[in-house]
Every structure is written in structure tokens, then in C-alpha cells.
């Protein structure tokens, strides 16, 4: 389906949308069932080491991944809301300070499910770095834009 799209939301947010050719029920299932998460998380970039999911409000989840290039990393958080069409969870990386609040909404139309993800970071600065370096471009190009990024702060 359509590639991942990155949009800008509030100053401290990153908004991503992605469409999948499957009913909402199956998308939610694939994103919340450990055995299924293991089959897609990280994609071709990383191997899943472990997936723990306690699927209830207040329950924790934790993913450990081993990228083909780079060190093993882990992230997880707590489910705050588990609805049919909306999941809210906290997200924190072991190697990154602070916590983000991730709100995922699932909208189904004609057998296609649109995923709308809002990642609300603690720092507005993070969002600015993301947007100003141009998320759709290659990393090398982003680095070249560093001077412009700082100049525009």
C-alpha cells in the first residue's frame, strides 16, 4: 500500500500515516499480538529478539531488537487506552531520555485501513530537528542542512 507519510502536527508532534490493504480488525490484531509482531517489527532492518505484550489498560509492552547494522536496542511503555479504533501508549527507548505519547487511530474504508500515528515528544526541539532536516530525504542530505537548521532556530 501507500508508503509511510510524514506530516507535521503540533510543535511537539510527529504525525505519520500509512495505509494497509486489510480490515481494521486484522491490522489491530497484527500490531498487538506478540507472535504476529515478531513477524514484521523491524522489517528487513532488524531481527526481533523479544516481544512482550500485556494487552490491557495499564499493561506494559517491551520490544527488543537487533539491527543488522548497529547495536541491540529496546523500547516499550504502558498502554493507556485500548479501543477498537484507537490505541494510546507511552513509548520510551532505553538509549533515549524522556517519553513520548503515541496515539494510533485505525480507520477502515473499502477494505483499506488507514493508520494515523501521532508521536508527541516531550521536547518541541525534537520535532523541529525532524522537520527542518527534511525527513523524506537521505541522512547525508540532512547533515548538509545542519547549518541551515541551526540558523533557522
Amino acid at each position: 500500500m501507500s508508503k509511510l507519510q510524514v506530516l507535521t502536527g503540533a510543535p511537539n508532534e510527529i504525525v505519520m500515516t500509512r495505509q494497509f490493504a486489510a480490515p481494521r480488525r486484522l491490522v489491530v490484531k497484527a500490531m498487538t499480538t506478540p507472535e504476529l509482531i515478531k513477524r514484521w517489527l523491524g522489517g528487513v532492518r532488524a531481527e526481533v529478539v523479544s516481544v512482550e505484550v500485556d494487552l490491557r489498560v495499564g499493561g506494559r509492552y517491551r520490544y527488543v531488537l537487533r539491527p543488522h547494522k548497529g547495536k541491540e536496542f529496546a523500547f516499550g511503555g504502558v498502554y493507556r487506552e485500548l479501543g477498537e479504533d484507537r490505541v494510546v501508549q507511552t513509548e520510551a527507548f532505553d538509549d533515549y531520555p524522556g517519553e513520548a505519547l503515541v496515539t494510533t487511530t485505525f480507520t477502515e474504508a473499502n477494505g483499506v485501513t488507514t493508520l494515523h500515528i501521532v508521536v508527541a515528544f516531550e521536547s518541541e526541539m525534537v520535532r523541529d530537528i525532524v522537520v527542518k532536516t527534511g525527513m523524506s530525504e537521505g541522512a547525508g542530505e540532512s547533515y548538509d542542512k545542519l547549518e541551515a537548521l541551526v540558523a533557522g532556530l
Binding site: M16, L26, P97, I117, V130, Y143, L149
Partner: protein, 116 residues
């Protein structure tokens, strides 16, 4: 990059005066006096901000005892930017793989329905 370092970077960047100092330094080196000029701030106040930026590794100070010019150091910002790039790439790759898993689930359901 260590969490403490990344945290220091974001703390340093949270202040508008410090961001303005970085923006000025992106154009080239400057002394404390030159940096204080556009702000309604004393040199000691500016020096305090410079210390925070220096601790975060965002700037470095020259050896010249008189002037000690400040210079922008791009590495911490590059690290923060690279982290976010990796975040986006991670989900992009994950969702590409999720397409395949969903195709399997849809196929399995269809087969199940076809059976009497």
C-alpha cells in the same frame, strides 16, 4: 551517543537565548562581547548560557585568553537528527513487512470462509 549527552543537548536547546546564540554562531565564530551585543543581557548572563552550551558539546571555546571565541560544534545536533532519522526508517521498514503479514492473514481468513 549516551542518554546523558542527548539529554544535555535537548536541555541546552530548550532556551530561546541559547538557540539565538547558536544561530549567530552558525554564521561564524564570535567572542562573548560580540554575542552579548544583540541581547539585552550582561556578559556574565551570556557567559552562563555559553557554559550550558559548552557542557552539552554544542559549542567550543578558543584558546586565545583574551577573546576566547565561541565556535559551533555540529556533532550533538547531528546525533539528535540522526536518531530521529533512524526512528522514521525503523517504522518505514516495519510497516513494509507488516504489509506481508497482513496479506497472509487476509488469505488465511478467506480460505477459512470458503470451507463449508
Amino acid at each position: 551517543m549516551t542518554p546523558a549527552r542527548l539529554d544535555a543537548t535537548f536541555t541546552a536547546l530548550a532556551d530561546p537565548t541559547r538557540r539565538a546564540i547558536l544561530a549567530r554562531l552558525a554564521k561564524g565564530e564570535a567572542s562573548v562581547m560580540e554575542l552579548a551585543a544583540p541581547f539585552a543581557m550582561s556578559q556574565p548572563a551570556i557567559s552562563k548560557h555559553l557554559k550550558v552550551l559548552e557542557r552539552a558539546g554544542l559549542i567550543s571555546r578558543g584558546r586565545d585568553a583574551q577573546r576566547r571565541p565561541c565556535k559551533l560544534e555540529g556533532a550533538p545536533l547531528r546525533d539528535a537528527s540522526a536518531w530521529i532519522d533512524r526512528y522514521r526508517e525503523f517504522w518505514d521498514a516495519s510497516f513494509d513487512a507488516l504489509d506481508g503479514v497482513l496479506a497472509d492473514l487476509v488469505k488465511t481468513e478467506r480460505k477459512r470462509k470458503e470451507k463449508p
